[in-house]
């Protein structure tokens, strides 16, 4: 496992990269909000006004979906690049390169927390004080973090050798956005496809999160179990790919 120094390294890497992301522009923090808010506005107009999707508190519903999705897509993209973008040091130093992957996901996690704070303000404004049940949101968020981490382990490892994984992942993310319940509620999926649809771990986690925060409703056991199992599979598989392949691939960097 990780030593004390390695944990310090992760901390230092994460904090310094996070600071850098916001240091270089005066508007730093506000720029980071621009993307989710722009998405929010666009999707709101398209789905609420043009398509007339019928949902209470659609703006909150949409915003939560967007920031969860952005967290996943951002951390996997940074995770994918984490080793290759540091090829200079990877070529010259021997350390646990997985540290770079973990730190990339953590940086995205910190960004997510900022976004989530904005969501919380929206929530207070529109719905008033949430119930204590909302605190359970921490579990699907943790799960989403581990899911991103598992995916990043696999992606970062393959990306060392196969550089077109980057394009491929871009496409998968684009498709993923539309096959996850971000802009629309899960109810519009025909019942016979629902089981297949729910194989997408994002669909599960987003639905659970919305239930907890917006409807004060805890998920049923089936949903918890499916999320847990898919998470476990992806995390183990991702880590195994990293563990057994990355040393070999590093030779190609």
């Amino acid at each position: 496992m990780l030593t004390k120094q390695e944990i310090s390294l992760i901390k230092e890497l994460t904090v310094s990269e996070f600071k850098l992301r916001y240091k270089n522009s005066v508007l730093g923090f506000f720029w980071s909000l621009l993307k989710p808010l722009a998405m929010l506005t666009t999707l709101y107009i398209v789905f609420r006004i043009f398509i007339k999707i019928d949902s209470e508190q659609y703006s909150l519903f949409l915003l939560l979906g967007i920031i969860l999705w952005n967290f996943f897509s951002e951390s996997t993209v940074f995770g994918l690049n984490s080793i290759v973008s540091k090829s200079g040091i990877v070529k010259k130093m021997n350390f646990k390169y997985g540290i770079l992957i973990i730190s990339a996901c953590l940086v995205s996690f910190l960004s997510f927390l900022l976004n989530f704070m904005v969501f919380a303000i929206f929530l207070l404004f529109i719905k008033g004080l949430p119930s204590l049940i909302s605190l359970f949101i921490i579990f699907p968020v943790m799960a989403l973090f581990l899911l991103s981490l598992g995916a990043s382990f696999a992606l970062a490892t393959f990306f060392i050798k196969y550089r077109d994984i980057g394009y491929l992942w871009d496409i998968i993310l684009q498709i993923g956005f539309w096959i996850s319940p971000i802009a629309y509620p899960i109810e519009i999926i025909p019942a016979k496809y629902l089981n297949i649809y729910m194989l997408n771990p994002l669909a599960n986690l987003i639905t659970i999160s919305r239930g907890i925060v917006l409807d004060n409703k805890l998920p049923n056991l089936e949903m918890i179990l499916t999320s847990f199992i898919t998470l476990l599979i992806i995390l183990t598989l991702g880590y195994a790919i990293y563990k057994f392949k990355h040393r070999k691939f590093i030779e190609y960097i």
């Binding site: 120094q5 310090s8 390294l9 200079g88 130093m93 021997n94 196969y162 550089r163």
Partner: protein, 419 residues
């Protein structure tokens, strides 16, 4: 001092497989499955064997591409060997060189922390050492500037200063002297001396043979991934100078980094050759060719100051001349006469002159420090009639690697206090 093994390398080999079609995309790999693989094998290292004892410093010498860095990468654990093994009995610093940072936008100070964590130092330890590191690097003024504003020399200084603070038993130093300025180089030597005092092991890669001799007890000479020799550093660096063309571990000739003629020198030589009067005489006795030999008795035209030189003159006595004398003249590049002698001057009786043969001129010690030299070779008679005069037709180069003496000549010199 008892010996205690700290590195053991046995039959270490590393194969790189180079595909002709680059399969660095998934698409190409899938496409590649249909066709038989096309690749060439490159043994970056082949059968390397050596031991290092605690407190010894080892120099690693070889031309570019001879496998020096691959060897260090395997020792440090970045690459895994294809065959054989290397064992480290102690703690090895986990990097080769630190010219690169984690992030160009981070400051020098932040990078020191990141490097140090990788070396396994805790925050408290780094806090304590930080001032020392910054002072040693001489980068006080720049330490809070972004790394992207650093020159390559400054980067290496920062990395080196951090690296030597680690608590490792073995340090890998890859060409750090090449980029530092004089002041920093002196500091480095000081550090190396201190590390040696603490019985730390240094693996030192450099093209600076002087530094290798100064710092290292032993040296490993690599050639195209093969181990030519591992032994006492003075012997090995000598061998390297005299034998940069080494085929299959056998030595036969010369070439090497900074050790061959520059283009300009070569041009000058060619120009000179084209001048008229470079050769005159009626060739009653003809000098057909000459060869220069180094101290290993190999044909060469690069020599180390203080070493011997043998000039072999091939002649043809076309008219069966009895009154014969051979001479040589050595000139500096700028034309200054350096040395000249003949068989007659040296009182060497020329008897038994054959119709065709050669005569050797032994120079016991090349006293010049360094430079390019022209060579005259002359066949003449005792009345100074020139049968065949080769005027500055040959060139050789002298370099100094054993000493820090200054000036034109390398005179034998000893100091002694006599009250």
């Amino acid at each position: 001092m008892q010996t205690e093994k700290i590195i053991e390398v046995r039959n270490l080999s590393k194969l790189f497989r180079i595909s002709y079609e680059k399969k660095d995309t998934l698409f190409a790999s899938i496409k590649g499955m249909m066709n038989p693989l096309q690749y060439s094998d490159l043994w970056a290292l082949k059968d390397i064997n050596f031991d290092v004892n605690k407190g010894e410093s080892i120099g690693i010498i070889g031309e570019n591409g001879s496998g020096k860095t691959t060897l260090l990468k395997i020792l440090v654990g970045i690459l895994t060997p294809t065959a054989g093994y290397s064992k480290i009995f102690g703690k090895i610093a986990p990097f080769l060189e630190l010219g690169v940072g984690f992030n160009e936008d981070l400051t020098g100070r932040e990078n020191i922390y990141l490097y140090s964590y990788i070396m396994g130092l805790s925050k408290d330890e780094i806090d304590k050492k930080l001032d020392n590191i910054i002072k040693f690097s001489g980068l006080e003024r720049f330490i809070d500037s972004k790394l992207s504003t650093y020159s390559s020399g400054m980067r290496i200084r920062l990395g080196f200063s951090t690296a030597i603070q680690s608590e490792s038993d073995i340090f890998l130093i890859d060409e750090v002297l090449a980029v530092g300025d004089m002041k920093f180089q002196h500091k480095c030597f000081e550090v190396f001396r201190n590390l040696k005092k603490q019985r730390k092991t240094i693996l030192f890669v450099s093209h600076d043979l002087n530094a290798i001799k100064k710092i290292c007890d032993k040296a490993l000479l690599l050639k195209e991934g093969k181990q030519v020799v591992f032994g006492e550093s003075k012997y090995v660096s000598d061998l390297y100078v005299y034998s940069s063309i080494i085929e299959n571990g056998k030595i036969n000739g010369l070439k090497g980094r900074n050790l061959t003629y520059t283009k300009k020198e070569f041009k000058n030589m060619e120009k000179l050759k084209k001048q008229v009067n470079v050769r005159w005489g009626e060739k009653e006795v003809e000098i057909t060719k000459i060869k220069l030999f180094d101290k290993f008795n190999k044909k060469n035209n690069l020599f180390v100051s203080g070493d011997p030189l043998k000039i072999r003159i091939y002649y043809k006595n076309n008219e069966n001349i009895k009154d014969l004398d051979f001479g040589i003249g050595i000139f500096y590049e700028d034309g200054r006469h350096c040395f000249g002698t003949t068989t007659e001057v040296e009182n060497y009786p020329l008897k038994n002159i054959k119709k065709e043969g050669f005569i050797d001129c032994y120079i016991k010690r090349l006293s010049m420090q360094e430079g390019n030299f022209y060579l005259n070779v002359i066949a003449l008679n005792k009345k100074h009639y020139h049968y065949d005069w080769h005027n500055k037709m040959y060139m050789f180069k002298v370099i100094k690697i054993n000493n820090l003496d200054q000036g034109m000549f390398n005179l034998d010199c000893k100091w002694k206090i006599s009250r």
